[in-house]
Amino acid sequence: MEKLIEKYYRPRLPHIWCPGCGNGIVTSSIIKAIDKLGLDQDKTVIVSGIGCSSRASGYLNFDTVHSLHGRALPVATGIKLADPELNVIVITGDGDGTAIGGNHFIHTARRNINLTVILFNNNIYGMTGGQYSPLTPTDSKATTAPYGTLERAFDIAELAKAAGATYVARGTAFHANMLVDVIAKGISHDGFSLIEAVTQCPIYFGRQNKKGDASAMLKTQRDNAVTVEAAKKLSPEQLEGKFKIGVLHQSEAPEYTKQYQGIIDRAQKGAK
């Protein structure tokens, strides 16, 4: 493990995450996936937005961009389209990626540009102190929902699929090894990949909603997650209140930057 830290992390500790936060586990899963695939560190770019998880970019030893709130995907799109040789990985949170960044999210998925998005889902705005996000479950408490949230939460995986993502997976901080695997598959996939990484925020989500400490929240992930394979054998009643983990969707579609090269070839031949 020490070797991975030396190779992939910048010597910038301590990090800003609270005790018990799952973001460190998800970040290390990304690093393990990168290492497993043997990606060229000089040709890999990490782009994030703003929020707790988005601070990860600063800790990782690659070309990294800590961009604007909700805007990681446009920046990543510019990098990937300008230089398709680069592996571009996006780190975002549920608030960053699905609220202010929601429109970018669906359109980037629609284009099927070869980016890998790891969306850290802790169900809350952590950095601003516990306000509800589009992925906060209905009837949850938040500092901006002292009587409970009215809004229904997105199923971000379903949204990604509907918008045209060609690889969609979900993992959890508890199932860290599996998370490495689904992230690695997403990076290898030629097209837009979304990996929802369920992570615990004991301080701002857990405390307000009486979910217990970090270990209790990890156990909740363990107890409620059902692998895609196991879910096939369960009835809808048995799946009530559970969520699926693993590769949820994979399909083939033309990848944007490769398609764009076709445009250049046509333009340079003088054809329309």
């Binding site: 604007l68 805007r71 920046v75 990098i79």
Partner: protein, 375 residues
């Protein structure tokens, strides 16, 4: 080979960008800037570049920020409402020192306003649209040939100072057609970004040279640096200490201020013996040339100081002008924006008269002549 063409200002802006070596455009269509996007969509693939129409204005500028980090020269184009949406990223590119060029073809506002009518109402938005204290470089062409040359100049400045440069067109200039002689693009010097002179181990991403500007490494070349909109120190990593905050903000201002004489651009027209000076810019300057010629025929000594770089504002030059003439007139297509800057620079040494027009029509030479005669 040089070509003589009849082009629109928007077209000349797009061609200027290609001549400067732009290979990436991302944007969102908005009148009256749309032709810039349309031409880039056709022209960029011909030169091996890329065009992408993004889902909104914010995404358009976000994508060019990303593309610029890979070493490409980049452009986006917009008009007032879109310019507002892009402001947060303009601030980001300023603090993160990412060279980008934004063309704003101004229309009547606020809000949707008059999409197809000319205005010069975003001059202060260009200066203060994003949040915080920051320097701005904004250029304003007054002819189709100048759309071409100033666009190239915008890249020279943007790459040199590592910051956004704003091209403030107005609808008159954007949609006007004029004869333009376009040189062979191979003969045009392409602005060059200052690259690192040390290896990745010694490289500090935001360590400035003596000119206040840090060399910039392209993503993907092994320098592995961090880009953030947070206040950062020379390493590029967040450092919110009062000392680091002051040092960074001071440097961002000073890299422009110290070189202000090289950035400031203006034109003097029949100003030598003038008693009345017209200070104006962009499409409105076109009427001023004609009004001045008409006035001169009647023996009225009028001349023009045309702002080409509007930001930074040529304060020193306007102060000198205020010592020379008896009155300054500032015609502009807004309720009065740059006139405030002229007054500030003139420091009460001479009366400064606004001639504001905001009815969606240009100021005609006759109207300007009448205004001058009534002084």
């Amino acid at each position: 080979m040089a070509k003589v063409l009849l082009l629109q200002g928007n077209q000349a802006c797009a061609e200027g960008a290609i001549a400067a070596g732009v290979t990436f455009f991302a944007g969102y269509p908005i009148t009256p800037s749309t032709e810039i996007a349309e031409i880039m969509a056709k022209r960029l693939p011909e030169v091996g570049g890329k065009f992408i129409q993004m889902e909104d204005e914010i995404a358009g500028i976000g994508a060019i920020v990303g593309a610029s980090l890979t070493g490409k020269k980049v452009l986006t184009a917009t008009s007032g409402p879109g310019f507002s949406l892009k402001q947060e990223f303009i601030g980001y590119a300023t603090i993160a020192e990412v060279p980008i060029v934004i063309a704003n073809v101004q229309r009547v506002g606020p809000s949707t306003g008059q999409p197809t009518a000319p205005a010069q109402g975003d001059m202060m938005q260009a200066r203060w649209g994003t949040h915080g204290d920051h320097p701005v470089i904004a250029l304003t062409p007054a002819s189709v040939p100048e759309c071409f040359t100033l666009t190239i100049k915008a890249y020279e400045l943007s790459e040199k100072y590592r910051m956004p440069v704003l091209l403030m067109l107005d609808e008159i200039i954007g949609h006007m057609r004029e004869k333009i002689e376009i040189p062979d693009y191979d003969t045009i010097e392409k602005p060059v970004r200052k690259g690192p002179r040390v290896g990745p181990n010694e490289f500090k991403a935001y360590e400035p040279d003596s000119d206040g500007v840090p060399p910039m490494a392209d993503f993907g070349t092994g320098y592995r640096y961090h880009v953030t909109g947070l206040v950062h120190d020379e390493t590029g990593f967040p450092n919110g200490s009062p000392a680091a905050t002051e040092k960074l903000l001071k440097r961002l201002h000073e890299k422009v201020e110290r070189d202000i004489d090289n950035i400031t651009m203006y034109e003097e027209y029949k100003l030598d013996d003038a008693e009345i000076a017209i200070v104006t810019y962009g499409g409105t300057a076109r009427s001023a040339y004609a009004a001045i010629d008409m006035a001169r025929e009647e023996g009225i000594k009028v001349g023009m100081f045309r702002l080409i770089s509007v930001w930074p504002f040529p304060e020193k030059e306007i102060a000198q002008l205020a010592q020379k003439v008896k009155v300054i007139v500032v015609p502009e297509l807004n309720y009065g924006q740059m006139v405030g800057e002229v007054k500030k620079a003139a420091e009460g040494k001479v009366p400064v008269k606004p001639m504001s027009k905001y009815d969606s029509e240009p100021i005609s030479p006759k109207e300007l002549l009448a205004f001058v005669k009534n002084l």
